[in-house]
Protein backbone atom coordinates (compact mmCIF):
# COMPACT_ATOMS: atom_id res chain seq x y z
CA UNK A 1 0.00 0.00 0.00
CA UNK A 2 2.85 2.30 0.89
CA UNK A 3 4.39 1.52 -2.48
CA UNK A 4 1.17 2.42 -4.29
CA UNK A 5 1.10 5.79 -2.57
CA UNK A 6 4.69 6.40 -3.67
CA UNK A 7 3.86 5.55 -7.29
CA UNK A 8 0.89 7.91 -7.31
CA UNK A 9 3.08 10.67 -5.91
CA UNK A 10 5.74 9.91 -8.54
CA UNK A 11 3.21 10.45 -11.33
CA UNK A 12 1.52 13.50 -9.82
CA UNK A 13 4.66 15.45 -8.87
CA UNK A 14 5.97 16.05 -12.44
CA UNK A 15 2.46 16.88 -13.67
CA UNK A 16 2.15 19.48 -10.95
CA UNK A 17 5.60 20.88 -11.81
CA UNK A 18 4.74 21.07 -15.50
CA UNK A 19 1.46 22.85 -14.86
CA UNK A 20 2.75 25.33 -12.31
CA UNK A 21 5.78 26.16 -14.47
CA UNK A 22 3.50 27.53 -17.17
CA UNK A 23 2.99 30.54 -14.88
CA UNK A 24 6.68 31.15 -14.38
CA UNK A 25 8.40 33.82 -16.45
CA UNK A 26 8.82 37.54 -17.03
CA UNK A 27 5.31 37.92 -18.42
CA UNK A 28 2.70 37.22 -15.74
CA UNK A 29 -0.29 35.09 -16.74
CA UNK A 30 -3.43 34.46 -14.71
CA UNK A 31 -4.67 30.98 -13.80
CA UNK A 32 -7.69 31.39 -16.07
CA UNK A 33 -5.61 32.46 -19.04
CA UNK A 34 -3.30 29.45 -18.80
CA UNK A 35 -6.07 26.92 -18.28
CA UNK A 36 -8.16 28.46 -21.08
CA UNK A 37 -5.28 28.30 -23.55
CA UNK A 38 -4.47 24.72 -22.55
CA UNK A 39 -8.10 23.70 -22.81
CA UNK A 40 -8.80 25.19 -26.21
CA UNK A 41 -5.50 23.96 -27.69
CA UNK A 42 -6.03 20.44 -26.39
CA UNK A 43 -9.70 20.36 -27.37
CA UNK A 44 -9.00 22.06 -30.70
CA UNK A 45 -11.55 24.78 -29.89
CA UNK A 46 -11.37 28.45 -30.78
CA UNK A 47 -9.33 30.47 -28.32
CA UNK A 48 -10.52 33.82 -26.97
CA UNK A 49 -7.28 34.61 -25.16
CA UNK A 50 -4.81 37.17 -26.52
CA UNK A 51 -2.43 35.90 -29.19
CA UNK A 52 0.55 36.76 -26.96
CA UNK A 53 -0.78 34.58 -24.18
CA UNK A 54 -1.45 31.75 -26.59
CA UNK A 55 2.05 31.85 -28.02
CA UNK A 56 3.59 32.19 -24.60
CA UNK A 57 1.76 29.27 -23.03
CA UNK A 58 1.49 26.89 -25.95
CA UNK A 59 4.52 27.59 -28.17
CA UNK A 60 7.12 28.79 -25.70
CA UNK A 61 6.54 27.68 -22.15
CA UNK A 62 4.83 24.32 -22.65
CA UNK A 63 7.42 22.75 -25.00
CA UNK A 64 10.20 24.11 -22.84
CA UNK A 65 8.71 22.67 -19.66
CA UNK A 66 7.93 19.33 -21.28
CA UNK A 67 11.40 19.10 -22.76
CA UNK A 68 12.94 20.06 -19.41
CA UNK A 69 10.97 17.32 -17.71
CA UNK A 70 12.00 14.71 -20.28
CA UNK A 71 15.65 15.74 -20.26
CA UNK A 72 15.86 15.79 -16.44
CA UNK A 73 14.06 12.48 -16.21
CA UNK A 74 16.33 10.89 -18.82
CA UNK A 75 19.55 12.07 -17.21
CA UNK A 76 18.44 10.89 -13.77
CA UNK A 77 17.02 7.54 -14.85
CA UNK A 78 20.08 6.59 -16.87
CA UNK A 79 22.34 7.76 -14.04
CA UNK A 80 20.47 5.44 -11.68
CA UNK A 81 20.67 2.57 -14.18
CA UNK A 82 24.42 3.04 -14.75
CA UNK A 83 25.06 3.24 -10.99
CA UNK A 84 23.37 -0.11 -10.59
CA UNK A 85 25.03 -1.69 -13.61
CA UNK A 86 28.52 -0.54 -12.60
CA UNK A 87 27.89 -1.18 -8.90
CA UNK A 88 29.24 2.25 -8.20
CA UNK A 89 27.23 5.05 -6.62
CA UNK A 90 29.62 7.67 -8.01
CA UNK A 91 28.82 6.90 -11.61
CA UNK A 92 26.61 9.30 -13.57
CA UNK A 93 24.80 9.22 -16.90
CA UNK A 94 27.95 10.42 -18.70
CA UNK A 95 30.13 7.51 -17.54
CA UNK A 96 30.48 5.87 -20.94
CA UNK A 97 31.35 9.11 -22.70
CA UNK A 98 27.86 10.09 -23.89
CA UNK A 99 28.18 13.72 -22.81
CA UNK A 100 31.66 14.40 -24.11
CA UNK A 101 30.85 12.58 -27.36
CA UNK A 102 27.74 14.71 -27.81
CA UNK A 103 29.70 17.83 -26.90
CA UNK A 104 32.25 17.16 -29.60
CA UNK A 105 29.53 16.35 -32.13
CA UNK A 106 27.80 19.64 -31.40
CA UNK A 107 31.06 21.61 -31.58
CA UNK A 108 31.87 19.99 -34.90
CA UNK A 109 28.42 20.82 -36.27
CA UNK A 110 28.73 24.43 -35.10
CA UNK A 111 32.04 24.79 -36.93
CA UNK A 112 31.14 22.86 -40.09
CA UNK A 113 27.51 23.90 -40.53
CA UNK A 114 27.48 27.28 -38.77
CA UNK A 115 25.14 26.17 -36.04
CA UNK A 116 22.32 24.62 -38.08
CA UNK A 117 20.02 23.13 -35.43
CA UNK A 118 19.38 19.88 -37.27
CA UNK A 119 23.11 19.40 -37.83
CA UNK A 120 23.85 19.97 -34.16
CA UNK A 121 21.22 17.43 -33.08
CA UNK A 122 22.37 14.85 -35.57
CA UNK A 123 26.06 15.23 -34.82
CA UNK A 124 25.58 15.40 -31.05
CA UNK A 125 23.39 12.32 -31.07
CA UNK A 126 25.63 10.43 -33.49
CA UNK A 127 28.84 11.13 -31.63
CA UNK A 128 27.18 10.29 -28.30
CA UNK A 129 26.35 6.83 -29.62
CA UNK A 130 29.80 6.52 -31.18
CA UNK A 131 31.46 7.34 -27.85
CA UNK A 132 29.49 4.65 -26.00
CA UNK A 133 30.23 2.12 -28.73
CA UNK A 134 33.94 2.93 -28.46
CA UNK A 135 33.85 2.54 -24.66
CA UNK A 136 32.09 -0.79 -25.07
CA UNK A 137 34.65 -2.06 -27.57
CA UNK A 138 37.53 -1.01 -25.33
CA UNK A 139 35.87 -2.70 -22.36
CA UNK A 140 35.47 -5.98 -24.17
CA UNK A 141 37.94 -8.68 -23.12
CA UNK A 142 37.69 -12.46 -23.48
CA UNK A 143 34.31 -11.92 -25.18
CA UNK A 144 32.92 -10.54 -21.92
CA UNK A 145 32.64 -6.95 -20.71
CA UNK A 146 33.65 -6.69 -17.06
CA UNK A 147 32.21 -3.54 -15.49
CA UNK A 148 35.58 -2.18 -14.45
CA UNK A 149 36.85 -2.41 -18.03
CA UNK A 150 33.75 -0.58 -19.27
CA UNK A 151 34.32 2.23 -16.76
CA UNK A 152 37.94 2.48 -17.87
CA UNK A 153 36.84 2.46 -21.50
CA UNK A 154 34.39 5.26 -20.72
CA UNK A 155 37.07 7.28 -18.97
CA UNK A 156 39.45 6.91 -21.91
CA UNK A 157 36.83 7.82 -24.49
CA UNK A 158 35.62 10.77 -22.40
CA UNK A 159 39.08 12.23 -22.15
CA UNK A 160 39.73 11.79 -25.87
CA UNK A 161 36.51 13.63 -26.69
CA UNK A 162 37.28 16.29 -24.07
CA UNK A 163 40.55 16.88 -25.88
CA UNK A 164 38.75 17.01 -29.22
CA UNK A 165 36.29 19.56 -27.78
CA UNK A 166 39.24 21.71 -26.72
CA UNK A 167 40.69 21.35 -30.19
CA UNK A 168 37.38 22.38 -31.75
CA UNK A 169 37.29 25.45 -29.50
CA UNK A 170 40.88 26.24 -30.47
CA UNK A 171 40.21 26.21 -34.20
CA UNK A 172 36.75 27.82 -33.97
CA UNK A 173 36.10 31.37 -35.06
CA UNK A 174 36.34 33.31 -31.77
CA UNK A 175 33.51 35.76 -32.53
CA UNK A 176 30.76 33.49 -33.79
CA UNK A 177 31.49 29.83 -33.27
CA UNK A 178 33.41 29.79 -30.03
CA UNK A 179 30.66 31.43 -27.96
CA UNK A 180 28.09 29.06 -29.47
CA UNK A 181 30.20 26.06 -28.52
CA UNK A 182 30.78 27.35 -25.00
CA UNK A 183 27.09 28.10 -24.45
CA UNK A 184 26.03 24.76 -25.89
CA UNK A 185 28.36 22.98 -23.51
CA UNK A 186 26.80 24.79 -20.55
CA UNK A 187 23.35 23.48 -21.42
CA UNK A 188 20.12 25.34 -22.07
CA UNK A 189 16.46 24.83 -22.83
CA UNK A 190 15.94 28.40 -24.00
CA UNK A 191 15.19 27.52 -27.61
CA UNK A 192 12.96 24.55 -26.89
CA UNK A 193 10.11 23.96 -29.31
CA UNK A 194 7.74 21.18 -30.25
CA UNK A 195 10.13 20.36 -33.08
CA UNK A 196 12.81 19.57 -30.50
CA UNK A 197 10.37 17.35 -28.66
CA UNK A 198 9.48 15.56 -31.87
CA UNK A 199 13.13 14.99 -32.81
CA UNK A 200 14.59 13.93 -29.48
CA UNK A 201 11.44 12.57 -27.85
CA UNK A 202 11.70 9.22 -29.65
CA UNK A 203 15.04 8.01 -28.29
CA UNK A 204 14.30 9.50 -24.87
CA UNK A 205 10.98 7.70 -24.56
CA UNK A 206 12.39 4.41 -25.86
CA UNK A 207 15.16 4.71 -23.27
CA UNK A 208 12.78 5.52 -20.43
CA UNK A 209 10.31 2.76 -21.26
CA UNK A 210 13.14 0.25 -21.69
CA UNK A 211 14.78 1.10 -18.38
CA UNK A 212 11.48 0.98 -16.52
CA UNK A 213 10.83 -2.41 -18.09
CA UNK A 214 14.20 -3.89 -17.17
CA UNK A 215 14.47 -2.23 -13.75
CA UNK A 216 14.48 -5.36 -11.60
CA UNK A 217 17.20 -6.93 -13.73
CA UNK A 218 19.40 -3.97 -12.75
CA UNK A 219 19.13 -5.17 -9.13
CA UNK A 220 20.44 -8.55 -10.20
CA UNK A 221 23.15 -7.08 -12.44
CA UNK A 222 24.38 -5.03 -9.48
CA UNK A 223 25.32 -8.28 -7.73
CA UNK A 224 28.41 -8.39 -9.94
CA UNK A 225 29.06 -10.49 -13.04
CA UNK A 226 29.80 -13.79 -11.32
CA UNK A 227 26.75 -13.76 -9.07
CA UNK A 228 24.44 -12.31 -11.72
CA UNK A 229 25.47 -15.13 -14.05
CA UNK A 230 24.92 -17.74 -11.35
CA UNK A 231 21.49 -16.24 -10.66
CA UNK A 232 20.55 -16.98 -14.26
CA UNK A 233 21.12 -13.70 -16.05
CA UNK A 234 22.28 -13.55 -19.65
CA UNK A 235 25.00 -10.98 -18.99
CA UNK A 236 25.63 -10.09 -22.61
CA UNK A 237 22.00 -9.37 -23.43
CA UNK A 238 20.94 -7.72 -20.18
CA UNK A 239 24.01 -5.53 -19.78
CA UNK A 240 23.75 -4.60 -23.44
CA UNK A 241 20.08 -3.66 -23.12
CA UNK A 242 20.67 -1.48 -20.06
CA UNK A 243 23.52 0.30 -21.86
CA UNK A 244 21.45 0.78 -25.02
CA UNK A 245 18.40 2.14 -23.18
CA UNK A 246 20.43 4.44 -20.93
CA UNK A 247 22.46 5.66 -23.90
CA UNK A 248 19.37 6.41 -26.00
CA UNK A 249 17.84 8.35 -23.11
CA UNK A 250 20.98 10.35 -22.36
CA UNK A 251 21.96 10.98 -25.97
CA UNK A 252 18.43 12.15 -26.78
CA UNK A 253 18.50 14.48 -23.80
CA UNK A 254 21.97 15.86 -24.37
CA UNK A 255 21.53 16.55 -28.08
CA UNK A 256 18.66 18.99 -27.47
CA UNK A 257 19.73 20.48 -24.16
CA UNK A 258 23.51 20.56 -24.25
CA UNK A 259 25.54 19.25 -21.35
CA UNK A 260 23.69 19.46 -18.07
CA UNK A 261 25.87 17.89 -15.43
CA UNK A 262 25.03 16.81 -11.93
CA UNK A 263 21.41 15.69 -12.50
CA UNK A 264 22.49 12.17 -13.47
CA UNK A 265 24.50 11.84 -10.28
CA UNK A 266 22.61 13.67 -7.59
CA UNK A 267 18.99 12.79 -8.40
CA UNK A 268 19.50 9.00 -8.20
CA UNK A 269 21.29 9.61 -4.91
CA UNK A 270 18.50 11.70 -3.48
CA UNK A 271 16.09 8.98 -4.55
CA UNK A 272 18.22 6.32 -2.86
CA UNK A 273 17.83 8.26 0.37
CA UNK A 274 14.10 8.75 -0.12
CA UNK A 275 12.88 5.39 -1.45
CA UNK A 276 15.81 2.99 -0.91
CA UNK A 277 18.03 1.15 -3.37
CA UNK A 278 15.60 -1.31 -4.91
CA UNK A 279 15.63 -0.37 -8.60
CA UNK A 280 11.97 -1.38 -8.88
CA UNK A 281 11.17 1.89 -7.08
CA UNK A 282 14.43 3.76 -7.60
CA UNK A 283 14.23 3.83 -11.39
CA UNK A 284 10.73 5.36 -11.60
CA UNK A 285 11.53 7.65 -8.68
CA UNK A 286 14.65 8.95 -10.44
CA UNK A 287 12.65 9.62 -13.59
CA UNK A 288 10.04 11.56 -11.67
CA UNK A 289 12.35 13.54 -9.43
CA UNK A 290 14.80 14.25 -12.27
CA UNK A 291 11.94 15.72 -14.28
CA UNK A 292 10.73 17.87 -11.36
CA UNK A 293 14.25 19.01 -10.53
CA UNK A 294 15.17 20.19 -14.01
CA UNK A 295 11.81 21.89 -14.56
CA UNK A 296 12.25 23.83 -11.31
CA UNK A 297 15.88 24.68 -11.99
CA UNK A 298 14.89 25.95 -15.42
CA UNK A 299 12.13 28.02 -13.80
CA UNK A 300 14.70 29.53 -11.51
CA UNK A 301 16.96 30.26 -14.48
CA UNK A 302 14.14 32.15 -16.15
CA UNK A 303 13.22 34.35 -13.21
CA UNK A 304 16.50 35.05 -11.44
CA UNK A 305 17.82 37.39 -14.12
CA UNK A 306 16.49 38.90 -17.31
CA UNK A 307 19.04 36.98 -19.35
CA UNK A 308 19.09 33.21 -19.25
CA UNK A 309 21.52 31.55 -16.90
CA UNK A 310 22.84 28.33 -18.48
CA UNK A 311 21.31 25.25 -16.89
CA UNK A 312 24.58 23.44 -16.24
CA UNK A 313 25.57 26.22 -13.85
CA UNK A 314 22.30 26.23 -11.97
CA UNK A 315 21.92 22.49 -11.55
CA UNK A 316 25.13 22.43 -9.55
CA UNK A 317 24.54 25.67 -7.65
CA UNK A 318 21.01 24.68 -6.60
CA UNK A 319 21.57 20.94 -6.43
CA UNK A 320 24.68 20.89 -4.27
CA UNK A 321 23.34 22.67 -1.16
CA UNK A 322 20.12 20.68 -1.38
CA UNK A 323 22.12 17.46 -1.60
CA UNK A 324 24.20 18.40 1.46
CA UNK A 325 21.04 19.24 3.40
CA UNK A 326 19.47 15.89 2.51
CA UNK A 327 22.67 14.03 3.31
CA UNK A 328 22.64 15.53 6.80
CA UNK A 329 18.92 14.85 7.25
CA UNK A 330 19.07 11.17 6.37
CA UNK A 331 22.59 10.64 7.69
CA UNK A 332 23.47 8.89 4.45
CA UNK A 333 20.46 6.53 4.42
CA UNK A 334 22.16 3.16 4.94
CA UNK A 335 25.37 4.12 3.20
CA UNK A 336 28.47 4.76 5.32
Amino acid sequence: MKRKAIYILLVLAPLFCIFSSLFVGRYALSFDTVTNVLWCKLAGAFCYEAATAQTLVWDIRLPRVLLGGLVGGCLAISGAAFQGLFRNPLVSSGILGVSSGAGFGAALAIILFHGSTIAIYTFAFGFALLAVLASYMIGRVYSTTPSIMLVLGGTIVSSVFAALISFAKYVADPYQELPSIVFWLMGSLATASFTDLAIAGGPMIIGIVGLIGIKWRINVLSMGDREAHALGINLFVDKGLVIIFATLATAGAVCVSGIIGWVGLIIPHICRMLVGNDNRVLIPASLSLGACFLIMVDDAGRIITGGEIPLGILTALIGAPFFVWLLKQTKGGGWS
Partner: protein, 275 residues
Protein backbone atom coordinates in the same frame (compact mmCIF):
# COMPACT_ATOMS: atom_id res chain seq x y z
CA UNK B 1 20.82 -42.56 -6.22
CA UNK B 2 20.49 -40.07 -9.03
CA UNK B 3 23.59 -38.47 -10.43
CA UNK B 4 23.21 -34.68 -10.48
CA UNK B 5 26.60 -33.69 -11.77
CA UNK B 6 29.04 -35.61 -13.87
CA UNK B 7 32.40 -34.12 -14.80
CA UNK B 8 34.45 -36.08 -17.34
CA UNK B 9 38.03 -35.48 -18.44
CA UNK B 10 37.74 -31.80 -17.65
CA UNK B 11 40.63 -29.51 -18.61
CA UNK B 12 40.77 -25.74 -18.49
CA UNK B 13 43.11 -22.84 -19.15
CA UNK B 14 42.32 -19.15 -19.37
CA UNK B 15 43.80 -18.75 -22.84
CA UNK B 16 44.32 -21.25 -25.63
CA UNK B 17 48.11 -21.37 -25.33
CA UNK B 18 48.23 -20.79 -21.58
CA UNK B 19 49.22 -23.39 -19.03
CA UNK B 20 46.42 -25.64 -17.89
CA UNK B 21 44.81 -24.70 -14.58
CA UNK B 22 43.61 -28.28 -14.33
CA UNK B 23 43.37 -31.22 -16.68
CA UNK B 24 41.68 -34.60 -16.94
CA UNK B 25 39.53 -34.17 -13.88
CA UNK B 26 36.53 -36.39 -13.39
CA UNK B 27 33.99 -36.88 -10.62
CA UNK B 28 30.29 -37.28 -9.96
CA UNK B 29 27.98 -35.75 -7.40
CA UNK B 30 24.91 -37.71 -6.31
CA UNK B 31 21.65 -36.37 -4.95
CA UNK B 32 21.93 -35.46 -1.28
CA UNK B 33 25.73 -35.62 -1.28
CA UNK B 34 28.32 -33.14 -0.09
CA UNK B 35 31.35 -32.88 -2.34
CA UNK B 36 34.26 -30.99 -0.81
CA UNK B 37 37.10 -29.56 -2.85
CA UNK B 38 40.34 -29.12 -0.92
CA UNK B 39 43.63 -27.68 -2.05
CA UNK B 40 46.10 -24.88 -1.52
CA UNK B 41 45.50 -21.33 -2.72
CA UNK B 42 45.72 -21.01 -6.49
CA UNK B 43 45.28 -24.72 -7.17
CA UNK B 44 42.27 -24.04 -9.37
CA UNK B 45 39.34 -24.76 -7.04
CA UNK B 46 37.55 -21.56 -7.98
CA UNK B 47 38.24 -22.08 -11.70
CA UNK B 48 36.71 -25.54 -11.49
CA UNK B 49 33.65 -24.13 -9.70
CA UNK B 50 33.36 -21.38 -12.34
CA UNK B 51 33.31 -24.02 -15.06
CA UNK B 52 30.59 -25.94 -13.23
CA UNK B 53 28.59 -22.70 -12.96
CA UNK B 54 29.04 -22.17 -16.69
CA UNK B 55 30.94 -18.92 -16.20
CA UNK B 56 33.86 -20.33 -18.18
CA UNK B 57 33.93 -23.06 -20.79
CA UNK B 58 36.12 -26.13 -20.44
CA UNK B 59 38.89 -26.54 -23.02
CA UNK B 60 38.62 -30.30 -22.76
CA UNK B 61 36.09 -32.75 -21.45
CA UNK B 62 32.44 -32.29 -20.59
CA UNK B 63 30.15 -31.49 -17.72
CA UNK B 64 26.76 -33.17 -17.52
CA UNK B 65 23.97 -31.80 -15.37
CA UNK B 66 21.41 -34.55 -14.67
CA UNK B 67 22.79 -36.42 -17.64
CA UNK B 68 22.48 -33.48 -20.03
CA UNK B 69 25.57 -31.88 -21.54
CA UNK B 70 26.04 -28.39 -20.21
CA UNK B 71 26.81 -27.07 -23.69
CA UNK B 72 23.18 -27.63 -24.64
CA UNK B 73 21.92 -25.30 -21.89
CA UNK B 74 20.81 -21.79 -22.77
CA UNK B 75 22.42 -18.95 -20.82
CA UNK B 76 20.53 -18.68 -17.58
CA UNK B 77 19.15 -22.20 -17.69
CA UNK B 78 21.99 -23.61 -15.61
CA UNK B 79 20.78 -21.37 -12.79
CA UNK B 80 17.68 -23.54 -12.52
CA UNK B 81 19.92 -26.51 -11.65
CA UNK B 82 22.87 -25.00 -9.81
CA UNK B 83 22.84 -22.10 -7.34
CA UNK B 84 25.91 -20.31 -6.06
CA UNK B 85 27.03 -19.02 -2.68
CA UNK B 86 30.07 -16.73 -2.98
CA UNK B 87 32.95 -16.56 -0.54
CA UNK B 88 31.70 -13.16 0.42
CA UNK B 89 29.21 -10.90 -1.28
CA UNK B 90 30.98 -7.71 -2.31
CA UNK B 91 27.92 -5.53 -2.40
CA UNK B 92 27.85 -1.84 -2.84
CA UNK B 93 24.17 -0.98 -2.49
CA UNK B 94 22.36 -1.44 0.81
CA UNK B 95 19.54 -3.63 -0.48
CA UNK B 96 17.28 -5.06 2.19
CA UNK B 97 17.68 -8.72 3.09
CA UNK B 98 14.36 -9.55 1.42
CA UNK B 99 15.37 -7.78 -1.79
CA UNK B 100 18.59 -9.82 -1.80
CA UNK B 101 16.82 -13.15 -1.37
CA UNK B 102 14.25 -12.30 -4.06
CA UNK B 103 17.09 -12.08 -6.57
CA UNK B 104 17.30 -15.87 -6.29
CA UNK B 105 14.19 -15.91 -8.46
CA UNK B 106 15.86 -14.22 -11.45
CA UNK B 107 16.21 -17.49 -13.34
CA UNK B 108 12.41 -17.86 -13.33
CA UNK B 109 11.54 -14.23 -13.97
CA UNK B 110 11.09 -12.71 -17.40
CA UNK B 111 13.59 -10.00 -18.39
CA UNK B 112 11.00 -7.23 -18.35
CA UNK B 113 9.14 -8.22 -15.21
CA UNK B 114 9.67 -8.40 -11.46
CA UNK B 115 9.26 -11.24 -8.96
CA UNK B 116 5.63 -12.32 -8.64
CA UNK B 117 3.71 -12.87 -5.40
CA UNK B 118 4.65 -16.56 -5.70
CA UNK B 119 8.34 -15.66 -6.06
CA UNK B 120 8.13 -13.44 -3.00
CA UNK B 121 6.55 -16.28 -1.03
CA UNK B 122 9.35 -18.64 -2.05
CA UNK B 123 11.90 -16.03 -0.98
CA UNK B 124 10.18 -15.64 2.40
CA UNK B 125 10.23 -19.39 2.94
CA UNK B 126 13.91 -19.58 2.01
CA UNK B 127 14.74 -16.89 4.53
CA UNK B 128 12.71 -18.74 7.15
CA UNK B 129 14.66 -21.90 6.42
CA UNK B 130 17.93 -20.27 7.46
CA UNK B 131 16.20 -18.67 10.45
CA UNK B 132 16.63 -15.02 9.50
CA UNK B 133 13.03 -13.93 8.89
CA UNK B 134 13.35 -11.29 11.59
CA UNK B 135 16.06 -9.50 9.58
CA UNK B 136 14.08 -9.22 6.31
CA UNK B 137 13.79 -5.43 6.31
CA UNK B 138 17.35 -4.74 7.43
CA UNK B 139 19.93 -3.43 4.94
CA UNK B 140 22.13 -6.33 3.87
CA UNK B 141 25.23 -4.19 4.36
CA UNK B 142 24.56 -3.89 8.09
CA UNK B 143 24.56 -7.62 8.75
CA UNK B 144 27.41 -9.50 10.39
CA UNK B 145 29.57 -11.80 8.27
CA UNK B 146 27.73 -14.89 9.47
CA UNK B 147 24.29 -13.42 8.90
CA UNK B 148 25.14 -12.21 5.41
CA UNK B 149 26.45 -15.65 4.51
CA UNK B 150 23.18 -17.20 5.67
CA UNK B 151 21.31 -14.69 3.50
CA UNK B 152 23.45 -15.80 0.54
CA UNK B 153 22.44 -19.40 1.32
CA UNK B 154 18.78 -18.32 1.50
CA UNK B 155 19.15 -16.66 -1.90
CA UNK B 156 20.55 -19.91 -3.30
CA UNK B 157 17.63 -21.82 -1.73
CA UNK B 158 15.13 -19.43 -3.32
CA UNK B 159 16.65 -20.51 -6.61
CA UNK B 160 15.11 -23.96 -5.94
CA UNK B 161 17.99 -25.91 -7.47
CA UNK B 162 18.92 -29.51 -6.72
CA UNK B 163 22.54 -28.42 -6.23
CA UNK B 164 24.35 -25.50 -4.59
CA UNK B 165 27.96 -24.56 -5.30
CA UNK B 166 29.76 -22.81 -2.45
CA UNK B 167 33.15 -21.19 -2.71
CA UNK B 168 34.83 -21.21 0.71
CA UNK B 169 31.63 -20.07 2.40
CA UNK B 170 33.13 -19.87 5.88
CA UNK B 171 36.55 -18.43 5.18
CA UNK B 172 35.96 -15.06 6.85
CA UNK B 173 33.63 -16.10 9.64
CA UNK B 174 34.24 -16.29 13.37
CA UNK B 175 34.42 -19.59 15.25
CA UNK B 176 30.72 -19.75 16.03
CA UNK B 177 29.40 -18.61 12.66
CA UNK B 178 31.60 -21.06 10.83
CA UNK B 179 29.76 -23.80 12.69
CA UNK B 180 26.39 -22.08 12.15
CA UNK B 181 26.95 -22.16 8.40
CA UNK B 182 28.12 -25.79 8.48
CA UNK B 183 25.10 -26.74 10.60
CA UNK B 184 22.81 -25.01 8.10
CA UNK B 185 24.42 -26.97 5.28
CA UNK B 186 23.95 -30.26 7.16
CA UNK B 187 20.33 -29.35 7.89
CA UNK B 188 19.66 -28.53 4.22
CA UNK B 189 21.22 -31.67 2.86
CA UNK B 190 19.40 -33.88 5.37
CA UNK B 191 15.99 -32.21 5.12
CA UNK B 192 15.75 -30.74 1.63
CA UNK B 193 17.92 -33.26 -0.16
CA UNK B 194 20.03 -30.68 -1.97
CA UNK B 195 23.57 -31.55 -2.96
CA UNK B 196 26.46 -29.31 -2.12
CA UNK B 197 29.71 -28.78 -3.99
CA UNK B 198 31.95 -26.81 -1.71
CA UNK B 199 35.48 -25.51 -1.96
CA UNK B 200 37.07 -25.16 1.45
CA UNK B 201 40.40 -24.43 3.05
CA UNK B 202 39.72 -26.58 6.08
CA UNK B 203 40.14 -30.36 5.85
CA UNK B 204 38.32 -30.63 9.15
CA UNK B 205 35.10 -29.43 7.47
CA UNK B 206 34.96 -32.80 5.76
CA UNK B 207 35.40 -34.56 9.09
CA UNK B 208 32.64 -32.35 10.47
CA UNK B 209 30.21 -33.54 7.77
CA UNK B 210 31.38 -37.09 8.32
CA UNK B 211 30.84 -36.74 12.07
CA UNK B 212 27.30 -35.52 11.30
CA UNK B 213 26.79 -38.69 9.26
CA UNK B 214 26.52 -36.90 5.96
CA UNK B 215 27.79 -38.72 2.89
CA UNK B 216 30.67 -36.33 2.29
CA UNK B 217 33.20 -37.01 -0.43
CA UNK B 218 36.30 -34.94 -0.74
CA UNK B 219 38.77 -34.39 -3.56
CA UNK B 220 42.28 -33.09 -2.97
CA UNK B 221 43.20 -30.77 -5.81
CA UNK B 222 46.90 -30.69 -6.53
CA UNK B 223 49.20 -30.12 -9.50
CA UNK B 224 46.37 -29.64 -12.05
CA UNK B 225 44.55 -32.76 -10.96
CA UNK B 226 43.13 -34.75 -8.09
CA UNK B 227 45.71 -36.19 -5.69
CA UNK B 228 43.06 -38.34 -4.08
CA UNK B 229 39.29 -38.58 -3.88
CA UNK B 230 37.06 -40.43 -1.45
CA UNK B 231 35.44 -40.42 1.97
CA UNK B 232 37.09 -38.34 4.67
CA UNK B 233 38.50 -41.39 6.44
CA UNK B 234 40.09 -42.66 3.24
CA UNK B 235 41.89 -39.58 1.96
CA UNK B 236 42.38 -37.17 4.85
CA UNK B 237 45.54 -38.54 6.37
CA UNK B 238 48.91 -37.22 7.48
CA UNK B 239 50.67 -38.28 4.30
CA UNK B 240 48.20 -36.56 1.96
CA UNK B 241 48.23 -33.37 4.03
CA UNK B 242 52.00 -33.19 3.69
CA UNK B 243 51.75 -33.68 -0.06
CA UNK B 244 48.85 -31.28 -0.51
CA UNK B 245 49.76 -28.39 1.76
CA UNK B 246 53.34 -29.14 2.86
CA UNK B 247 52.16 -29.32 6.45
CA UNK B 248 52.91 -31.98 9.02
CA UNK B 249 49.74 -33.00 10.83
CA UNK B 250 48.48 -35.49 13.37
CA UNK B 251 45.13 -37.15 12.95
CA UNK B 252 43.53 -37.40 16.37
CA UNK B 253 40.52 -39.41 17.42
CA UNK B 254 38.54 -38.75 20.55
CA UNK B 255 35.60 -40.83 21.73
CA UNK B 256 32.29 -38.98 21.16
CA UNK B 257 29.47 -41.38 21.94
CA UNK B 258 29.21 -45.14 22.36
CA UNK B 259 29.62 -45.92 18.68
CA UNK B 260 31.62 -43.12 17.15
CA UNK B 261 34.86 -41.22 17.42
CA UNK B 262 35.38 -37.56 16.60
CA UNK B 263 38.26 -37.11 14.20
CA UNK B 264 40.31 -34.02 13.62
CA UNK B 265 43.51 -33.08 11.82
CA UNK B 266 45.83 -31.01 13.97
CA UNK B 267 48.62 -29.09 12.22
CA UNK B 268 52.06 -29.55 13.79
CA UNK B 269 54.45 -27.56 11.60
CA UNK B 270 55.27 -26.86 7.97
CA UNK B 271 57.16 -29.67 6.29
CA UNK B 272 60.86 -29.05 5.59
CA UNK B 273 60.44 -29.11 1.82
CA UNK B 274 57.20 -28.15 0.23
CA UNK B 275 56.05 -30.61 -2.32
Amino acid sequence: MTTLLNVEGAGFSYSKEGTAIFQDIGFTVEKGQVFCLLGPNGCGKTSLLDCILGLYKLNRGSIYIQGRNMKSFKPGQIAQYIAYVPQRHEGSFPYTVMEMVQMGRAAYTDRFSSPSAEDKKIAREALELVGLSHLRHRPFTQLSGGESQLVMIARALAQKTPMIVMDEPTSHLDFRHEIVVLETIVHLVKNSGVSIVMATHFPNHVFYFDNQELPAVCALMHMQGFLAMGRAGEVLNEQNMRKLYGVNTRLIKVPWDQERDLRHLVPVNTAATEV
